[in-house]
Amino acid sequence: MKGSQAFNRQLVWDRLLAIVEDQAQALMRTAFSPVVREAGDLSAGVFDTHGNMLAQAVTGTPGHVNAMAQAVPHFLQVVPISAMKPGDVLITNDPWLATGHLNDFTLVTPTFVNGQVVALFASTSHIADVGGRGFGPDANDVYEEGIRIPIMYLFREGVVNESLIQLVKANVRDPVVAEGDLYSLAACNEFGSQKLIQACEEFGIKRFDEIGNSILKISKEAMQAEINKLAPGTHCYSMNIDGYDRPIHLQCSLTIKQNCIEIDFDGTSPISQYGINVPLPYAEAYACFGVRCLVGNDIPNNAGSLSTISVRASKGSILNAEPPCAVSARHAIGQMLPDVVIGCLSQVLKDQVPCEGASCIWNPVLMNSPIASRNFDAPPFVVNPIFNGGTGARNGKDGLSTTAFPSGVRTTSTEVNEVTSPLIFLKREFLPDTGGPGQFRGGLGQVIEIQHRHRAPFEISKMFERVKHAALGRNGANAGSLGRVYLRDGEEYAGKGKEYIPSGATLVMETPGGGGLGKPTDRDRKLVENDLMEELVSAEQATSVYQFHGSVDKESS
């Protein structure tokens, strides 16, 4: 019966999706690094024995997920399926084999049913510190960025590779967190494996080849059908962004063909001498995400749906940086790629696509200054909170204020940040007038003010974007405001690099706003009035930009 076969496939598929989601949740609940446990900087997925990703958790962040999809075949080259034994767990943090910087550890675990490997579980999470200069963009090559582990065994037939653990612990600033996170990653793969074994028993599955191939085939065909709805042709878009010491030009051409989309970053700036270079798998991940969030966005992500999109960047480009380039803060550039891809798609999909946004997360690494530890009675600390700017305006809708896009991470609680560090966050609020004015307004950025509770000096490592190049609006709208980093009553800082914050100073960060859509003068007057009343827009901007001449009586509702 045709029906029952199709339903059976759907049941197995749904089960795989549920298992990887549970796997991701287990990782999030057991992780030690705050950006994983609080912010969800992780990914999880299940693969067939050829290394094709069958399902991935929606929890997590696109840069990991799509890059991890390409990582598993590398593992299979080092340890073929035939050599795998129950209890084996493989590991790497190589930026070019996995997800783009040393902080991300990827673990792969084979699942055995009746003595045969039926599938592989992989997971990735960001470990807070991997030694070197610490998480930041200041290194000049990858050797300065910390410990690098080639693909090897973390567990061999159930026995932990104690030498590796000791080596990692000796090379990182927080060995307890690193060790805990390695165990958490291994545990979440095991967790997924056990669920899969149960499912195999229940559905009577001995091999996933047939059902897996059919899942990949259906996903691929569905993506092809979505792509074929778009008019064929090539569309170009470019964007200049801050970079570290000089601006970076991101040049993209997107070609819609029968059954596939080709993205080419030819013409993009070359590698940087700082740690903002992007290994190709990470660039591919975010470029693909730019397409996938608009074309066939409810088709699950797997090797089938992803195979319809190809990404090219020439060697030596900042988007195809090769070893030994420094790559620690590769996200600062990678997260800008969806804006460029979406810019190309805007020529086909018109207003169905969002405008440019803040895009790069603002995740300062805040830590004690070595001087402070000597001269002040202040214990060492390091925190990596995440703040976001505004997203671009959308079709018929304003952008989202202070929301991560394209990254999938969550922010961290101010109270938790203050418990885990001696800092005090005096202010963390929407910043009025930062959303790009338009018929539909860009999302607002925020202002954050930080002091040391004991007035001790501290340090910040910055990997921010859009301090010099704003998120542009479309169709007559204005850009979102620029981000800023400065001392209250003091120095203005660049968006990237490490700074020393002197004793008693207040560090201020303003995250960028999203670009607007349509002419500000076309904005519904009621919405302008509401923005005024809510103090999201100042009276001055309302008058001069929106040409709003009504009055809002603040004394009445």
Binding site: G3, S4, F7, Q10, W13, D14, R15, A18, E21, D22, M28, R29, T30, A31, F32, P34, R37, P62, V176, V177, G180, S184, A187, Q194, I218, A225, E226, R292, C293, G296, D298, I299, N388, R394, L400, T402, T403, A404, F405, G408, R410, T411, S413, T414, E415, E418, I424, L426, K427, R428, E429, F430, R453, M533, E534, E535, L536, E555, S556, S557
Partner: protein, 686 residues
């Protein structure tokens, strides 16, 4: 012999249950959304018509309602202001700064309950240690109160950073509000939810403030109307944590009343588990819009402190407002009789979470519903007797069900109607089974060897297949399965739970700190329940929320306060951790983040749950034959009234057992019997 009345107001139906010397009477009437107490009074009058008891004889009224939940979902609460730490007025709206659906660029977050204009900054600041960093400016309080007056605010929430360590500023501001505006309602974050993490705490506090005036009015009005009828007994409210509380406490913390109906269902499952000596149970409550699944081990549900209300995006986790209150841990998914089936671009059948509700309802109701729902599939599969649905009050239109299923599912997929209907049932059953599996694994539990307890209008229709999917051996369908939640109220304890966030490293175990924290909580909890529990023995349940230092998610550990030390705390934590995550982390220190204390008095109001006094909707049906589509093909199935079943007489499937508010499907390969306790036992042939 006590006479007790239990009332459960749900989204569609209001259930009233009366327990008196004759046993249990029940009735189900449509909820009156305009004034929910109308339906309550109607239901009470209707039920007393068929009983020999009088209003004066009622010694206790137990009540649960979705009113607070609905007010939040429909944004019908009070005009609320939030007085909050200056510099942080956007906590409520910034939320987690994330998108709950990665691949949809057009998502909208749930609207905050308090608009920016009414989130008013107060100059003050505590640091994480609870020390004053910026002293409280009374001038800023005065300015805030000017705005409160000007804006005609009805309810005030006060939520300052780190107030879970030091509530001094919140209290001073509350006093200032009270002295200037004696009649305004006030909710303090340090009272409603004294836990670290400002967004969740303020979200909970604002939700409390938002529903408070409405609930206060409703409770006052209901008490008056009950008084007018002649009731003179105490009234208790059901909370989401499964305990009963006084009207007075309910009025202060109405946010604790959300999900009281589902909590009642879970309590019913707890009692049945105890009564029938079932150590491992999965409670399965399926109504018109959602299905609720809840694990019951050794007669106890799991308790937790996190919950989400108003999930705006397909019931998706993260798309709602976080609420931190004591809740019975259960999983709720958009899978009910009214859930709509559609075919997506991958030719996959999607069920729910959109529901046809009660208006227009499933296509087979014949009220104008066009979409194919789970009930339509059930109708098409012959699982429902068209003439006796909902006690015969709705005549099912089989043709309409066939049309809906063929238009929306069979034709797009090129299947026969029977295949499509079976597919719909399969997918919804799999969705529920998947939710149960995922829920169990999240809590480190297994579904193996559990008994399913099925109640709610749609559950007995799907229980047999669900049990197969989860490889379970038996299902119990309790008496009055259609009004399970209200029956559950009758067995709930009177209880109150208090929480404190006090950080403690296990390596610095401090029994004095623990003693002080629990003394403080004990005093608060007892003061809340004292008037309702005179002469009763009070039980205490204490938990610590523990994690490895540096983790973000705590594991709850049951404490024995009389024999507590660092070693046994670690031992219990590791035991729970292994069952949840498989392995412990060697050499890592532990930290306790929060402590909770639940003080309760056991008050089982049910004398004999099984006694059927009279059916308020007397059914006297004939044995008929229906065509029942199963996976193996069509079979003839008898239709038998539940009341006509002889105790302990085993009937082989296929057969349908009908009662006023539900139907139990017994497929081929299953058998059913009425137990001595009058509950039905459905088992698989082995």
């Amino acid at each position: 012999m006590r006479t007790t009345l239990a009332i459960d107001i749900g989204g569609t139906f209001t259930d009233v249950v009366l327990q008196d010397s004759d046993g249990i009477h029940s009735t189900k009437i449509l909820t009156s959304h305009q004034d929910p107490s109308d339906a309550v009074i109607d239901g009470i009058q209707k039920i007393f018509e068929n009983s020999r008891s009088s209003y004066e004889e009622v010694s206790l009224v137990l009540h649960g309602t979705t009113l607070a939940t609905n007010a939040l979902i429909e944004r019908r609460g009070a005009k609320t202001a939030l007085l909050t730490t200056a510099g942080h007025r956007d906590i409520l709206e910034m939320a987690f700064e994330n998108r709950f659906e990665q691949y949809d660029v057009n998502i909208e977050r749930p609207r905050p309950l308090v608009s920016r204009k009414l989130r008013i900054p107060i100059e003050e600041r505590m640091n994480a240690q609870g020390e004053i960093f910026t002293s409280l400016s009374m001038e800023s309080v005065d300015r805030a109160l000017d705005a409160v007056v000007r804006e005609r605010v009805e309810s005030v929430a006060i939520g300052f950073l780190h107030s879970y360590v030091n509530d001094k500023h919140e209290r001073i501001v509350a006093d200032a509000v009270r002295s200037r505006l004696p009649n305004i309602e006030i909710s303090l974050s340090s009272e409603v939810c004294p836990e670290i993490r400002e967004y969740e705490r303020l979200s909970t506090t604002c939700a409390n403030a938002y529903v408070l005036p409405l609930m206060a009015r409703y409770l006052k009005n209901l008490a008056e109307r009950l008084g007018e009828l002649g009731f003179s007994c105490p009234y208790l409210m059901m909370t989401s944590g499964g305990g009963l509380t006084s009207f007075d406490t309910a009025r202060r913390f109405p946010i604790r009343l959300v999900e009281s109906g589902p909590a009642g269902g879970a309590i019913l499952a707890e009692r049945l588990a105890t009564e029938l000596a079932l150590d491992k149970v999965l409670s399965f409550d399926m109504g018109g819009t959602t299905a609720k699944l809840c694990l019951v081990d050794d007669g106890h549900t799991l308790l937790s402190r996190s919950f989400e209300v108003d999930r705006v995006y397909r019931f998706k986790k993260g798309s709602g407002l976080p609420i931190r209150i004591p809740v019975i841990e259960m999983v709720e998914i958009g899978a009910g009789g009214g859930s709509i089936a559609t075919v997506d671009q991958l030719d996959r059948v999607q069920i729910g979470p959109e529901s046809a509700g009660s208006n227009p309802g499933p296509a087979c109701y014949g009220l104008g519903g066009e979409f194919a729902t789970v009930t339509d599939a059930d109708c098409l599969l012959g699982r429902l007797d068209e003439d006796f649905f909902a006690a015969g009050s709705i005549k099912l239109d089989r043709e309409a069900a066939v049309n809906a299923v063929s238009t929306h599912v069979s034709n797009p997929l090129g299947l026969t109607n029977a295949e499509a209907a079976l597919g719909i049932a399969e997918i919804v059953d799999e969705n529920m089974a998947a939710a149960a599996r995922s829920h169990a694994s999240e809590w480190g539990k297994s579904l193996n060897d559990r008994t399913l307890i099925a109640f709610g209008g749609a559950a007995p229709l799907h229980a047999a297949r669900l049990m197969e999917k989860m490889s379970l051996a038996r299902v119990v369908i309790p008496t009055h399965a259609g009004v399970g939640s209200a029956i559950g109220f009758l067995s709930a304890p009177i209880a109150f739970e208090v929480v404190r966030s006090r950080h403690m490293l296990l390596s610095h175990f401090d029994s004095n700190l623990i003693g002080d924290v629990f003394d403080d909580m004990r005093e608060e909890a007892r003061s809340v329940i004292i008037t309702s529990t005179v002469g009763k023995t009070l039980d205490e349940t204490a938990h610590a929320y523990v994690r490895y230092v540096g983790q973000g998610h705590e594991v709850s550990v049951l404490l024995d306060l009389n024999a507590l030390n660092a070693d046994n705390l670690r031992e219990k934590f590791e035991e729970n951790y292994i069952s949840m995550y498989g392995q412990i982390i060697p050499n890592a220190d532990l930290e306790v983040m929060s402590w909770t204390l639940n003080v309760s008095a056991f008050t089982d109001h049910i004398t004999n749950s099984a006694t059927l006094a009279s059916s308020t909707n007397g059914m006297d049906i004939d044995v008929r034959e229906l065509t029942c589509v199963e996976q193996s093909g069509s079979k003839k199935a008898k239709v038998i009234s539940r009341e006509s079943l002889e105790p302990n007489f085993v009937i082989e499937g296929p057969v349908l057992i009908v009662e006023p508010h539900t139907t139990t499907v017994v497929p081929t390969g299953f058998h059913i019997q009425r137990m001595d306790t009058d509950h039905l036992l459905l088992e698989r042939e082995t």
